[in-house]
């Protein structure tokens, strides 16, 4: 416990040092592109009127300290990311399980998967705006297309490498297929599936930003682009800080989920070793 | 001839000194190795033999006492010392082929000299034909021969071997034992070999140092007076051999 406390204290300390160093450097350099944090942080809740985009936070408790930017940009971004991610998880686990169960299916789809997977997702943005329009659709599909691969491939791998002896046990006891699926294949594959989902979550944040680089009218990626067009650097930095915080949050979430899953995994392997 | 090469003087070692998990590996060990001698250190597993070997090699500092080579206290690895580890698969570098593995310690030499020494050393261990292979493409016994060749290429004055034959099968093991005897007869190099095999220690050694379980101390130093050259059949069937073996066995299983 004290080790954890100490780590938190040193982390907080180094964070403070970084911010102070950043402040001193930017004040000293007087660069237009690198505004000091004393100017950047207030942008998170006050903006500076005029060309500034709506701030993400608010100083008023009656707004729950949330500003217009929170509802107009952050929530739509996160909502699109979540939907794209959920779509990728559903398709990845569903298709991955089907392919994992049949070697012939894996072989027949091998080239297709490798070919489609090689397409750099941002290259699809242009077409999909033309095809699906400027709404949420192309952005969600783009995120889903980009992040489905780690989930799909890990699911295939996990389901295909289920222990043969366990499969024979299931066959000997004439367990119906549905129960084999929920009681054998998916649980055995779950550590790999979760690890694929973990990789994909980090990637989803990146793709969320990219998907808003073109054909968007709101969202955090859109804000980065707008701030560049209007040379609004304090706001640009504020958005970058917000994105860092989201990234940190997602990292923590992944860490937490993996620790839980690994705990389950460890217990399970202990039992099977008895 | 009979001057002291290596002297181990009241060496003791405690791992994690001062902590709750501290482990007293070596109590107090003293012995001397004369120049040109083969000395085997034998003891039960976990008796701190490998720790002692790493201290002798200068890879570790002992908690107490000191080791000196040719009268100079050892601080860091001495230049004219070479070592063969038990785990050849981890001690040979998998990214280098056999010949570069053998040449690895010879970097300070000119290229021609390096090549010559590697050629000689590989010939000594009977691996001339395999010098372009990767170590992991060879059998365990052959890999350990490469490790031996690498140590010999340094032309060390003292060769330390840490359970060198513990990871190979019985047949290969006796072949390698004979190879070590052959090399010793040819070069007269000083050899210190750690083993848990009593037969092996008596068969190879001029002097067997029997260690107790941890924290280890010297139970007895047995002078082995068996004629050289030795061989697997005559030596191991002689009554003297059986006598030494019997004595060492009793010491270690008391």
């Amino acid at each position: 416990m004290s080790g954890r406390l100490w780590r938190a204290v040193t982390a907080l300390g180094s964070l403070t040092v970084v911010v102070i160093g950043w402040q001193l450097l930017t004040v000293w350099s007087e660069s237009y592109f690198f505004p000091p944090p004393s100017k950047v942080f207030p942008h998170l809740w006050s903006g500076n009127g005029g060309i500034a985009e709506p701030p993400y936070l608010s100083s008023s408790p009656s707004d729950l300290f949330l500003g217009a930017g929170f509802y107009e940009d952050l929530v739509p971004s996160m909502w699109r990311m979540l939907r794209g991610y959920a779509m990728a998880a559903a398709v990845g686990i569903g298709v991955g399980t089907a392919l994992g169960l049949s070697r012939a299916a894996r072989q027949y789809t091998d080239w297709i998967i490798n070919f489609v997977r090689a397409i750099p997702p941002p290259a699809l943005l242009g077409i999909w705006i033309v095809v699906f329009g400027l709404g949420d659709g192309p952005k969600i599909y783009l995120i889903a297309f980009a992040v489905v691969w780690p989930i799909l491939l890990n699911t295939i791998d996990g389901v295909a490498s289920v222990d043969e002896q366990r499969m024979q046990v299931a066959a000997v006891f004439k367990i119906p297929f549905r129960r084999q699926l929920t009681g054998l294949y998916l649980p055995s594959a779950s550590p790999k599936i979760i690890s694929g989902m973990r990789i994909s979550l980090g990637f989803a944040l990146i793709m969320m930003i990219i998907s808003e680089f073109a054909g968007a009218t709101n969202g955090l990626g859109f804000r980065l682009k707008e701030d560049l067009s209007f040379f609004n650097f304090p706001d640009l930095w504020a958005t970058m800080i917000l994105l860092s915080a989201i990234g940190l949050l997602l990292n923590g979430l992944m860490f937490w989920a993996e620790a839980r899953i690994l705990g389950w995994h460890r217990k399970a392997s202990e039992v099977s070793n008895l | 001839m009979n001057s002291t090469a290596l002297s181990v003087d009241s060496v003791g070692h405690v791992y994690g000194q001062g902590t709750v998990e501290q482990f007293h590996a070596i109590g107090e060990v003293s012995f001397e190795v004369d120049r040109g001698e083969v000395v085997c250190i034998v003891g039960p597993s976990g008796c701190g033999k490998s720790t002692l070997m790493r201290i002798m090699a200068g890879l570790m500092r002992p908690s107490n006492g000191m080791v000196s080579l040719d009268g100079h206290p050892i601080e860091g690895v001495p230049a004219d010392l070479a070592m063969v580890f038990q785990d050849y698969s981890r001690s040979l570098f998998p990214w280098l082929r056999v010949r570069p593995n053998v040449e690895y310690p010879l970097r300070h030499l000119a290229k021609a000299e390096r090549a010559q020494r590697a050629t000689d050393a590989l010939a000594d261990v009977g691996l001339s034909a395999h010098d372009r292979k990767y170590p992991w493409e060879l059998s365990g016994g052959m890999q350990q021969r490469v490790a031996l060749a690498r140590a010999l290429a340094v032309q060390p004055r003292i060769l330390l071997m840490d359970e060198p034959f513990a990871s190979v099968d019985a047949q290969t093991r006796s072949d390698l034992e004979d190879l070590v005897l052959e090399i010793h007869a040819e070069t007269g190099i000083t050899i210190v070999l750690v083993t848990h095999d009593i037969d092996e220690s008596v068969y190879l050694a001029d002097k067997v140092i029997a260690l107790s379980a941890q924290p280890s101390t010297v139970l007895e130093t047995i002078e082995v007076d068996l004629p050289r050259p030795r061989n697997q059949l005559d030596t191991k069937e002689s009554s003297n051999f059986l006598h030494y073996r019997h004595h060492a066995y009793e010491l270690l299983h008391r």
Binding site: V116, P120, A146, K225, L228 | -
Partner: protein
């Protein structure tokens, strides 16, 4: 074993599956099951691809993308390996740098693009710098885990032959870690192309595959050509993967000797 095993069967089935997929797509699109307006038939896309690959002006844009990604990846290799080695071998650097890295890393590399474009203008510098930032992390972390995985026996062996501290890093740890580092490079290579194209799309000026696509999307270029350009980008990254795989298998065949 049962039928369908062996490498030749998997190649035959892979190719067959791919062709069947293309044929079905062709049929679906040309019979009108799928709206022709949104997806052109594969034959038209293939024709579009061929036209693009033989057009010098498009190849010039491909070269822009390749150059931006390659320069960025190269810089990331230098930065990632250097930082990884420093962090693995020096407690001082760990103390100084790790907290900074923890703060900086959660921000996705593409988010630096607007700032870098503002500072360096559009062009190779801003694009490859963004690529470099995004690609440094996988290389850095793989270098670290490669150093963590160096066998202590290998290090003791080197030390028993009086290896110097610097030599230990250069001739033992770095070599032992090199398959890990290369894995990081392979991961980063895919990221490099993705980030490069994303930055080209951010403020499109017609350069690079991303710029070409952004222009095409807004101005009357037919869909078959746009899809064609997209698949050329896919082909590019397929080729890159294949090349890196080949290098990996050749250069690091000794990997199987690690940790046996």
């Amino acid at each position: 074993m049962n039928h369908g095993s062996g490498p030749s069967a998997s190649i035959v089935r892979g190719a067959a599956g791919f062709l069947i997929f293309l044929a079905l797509a062709e049929m679906a699109v040309s019979t009108g099951i799928v709206d022709v307006g949104s997806i052109p038939p594969p034959t038209e896309i293939a024709a579009g691809m061929f036209e693009l690959i033989t057009s010098a002006s498009f190849l010039a844009q491909v070269w822009v993308t390749v150059k931006g990604a390659a320069v960025g990846l190269g810089a990331a290799i230098v930065a990632g390996v250097t930082l990884g080695v420093l962090l693995s071998t020096s407690a001082l650097f760990r103390r100084l740098l790790l907290p900074v890295i923890e703060v900086v890393r959660p921000l996705p590399g593409v988010a630096y693009a607007p700032l870098l474009i503002a500072v360096f203008q559009r062009g190779l510098m801003s694009r490859s710098l963004t690529v470099a930032i995004a690609c440094t992390w996988p290389i850095l972390f793989n270098t670290r885990s490669g150093f963590d995985a160096v066998d202590p026996i290998a290090i003791q062996t080197a030390r028993s032959f009086s290896e110097t501290k610097f030599g230990l890093i250069r001739r033992v740890s770095l070599l032992s870690a090199s398959p890990f580092i290369f894995t990081g490079v392979r991961i980063s290579a895919s990221i490099a192309i993705i980030v490069e194209i994303a930055v080209e799309i951010l403020i499109p000026d017609g350069t690079g595959i991303g710029g070409f696509l952004a222009d095409a999307g807004s101005g009357g270029v037919d869909l078959a050509t746009i899809y064609g350009a997209t698949f050329v980008a896919g082909l590019l990254s397929l080729l890159l993967n294949f090349g890196l795989n080949t290098i990996d298998n050749r250069l690091f065949a000794w990997r199987q000797g690690l940790g046996a």
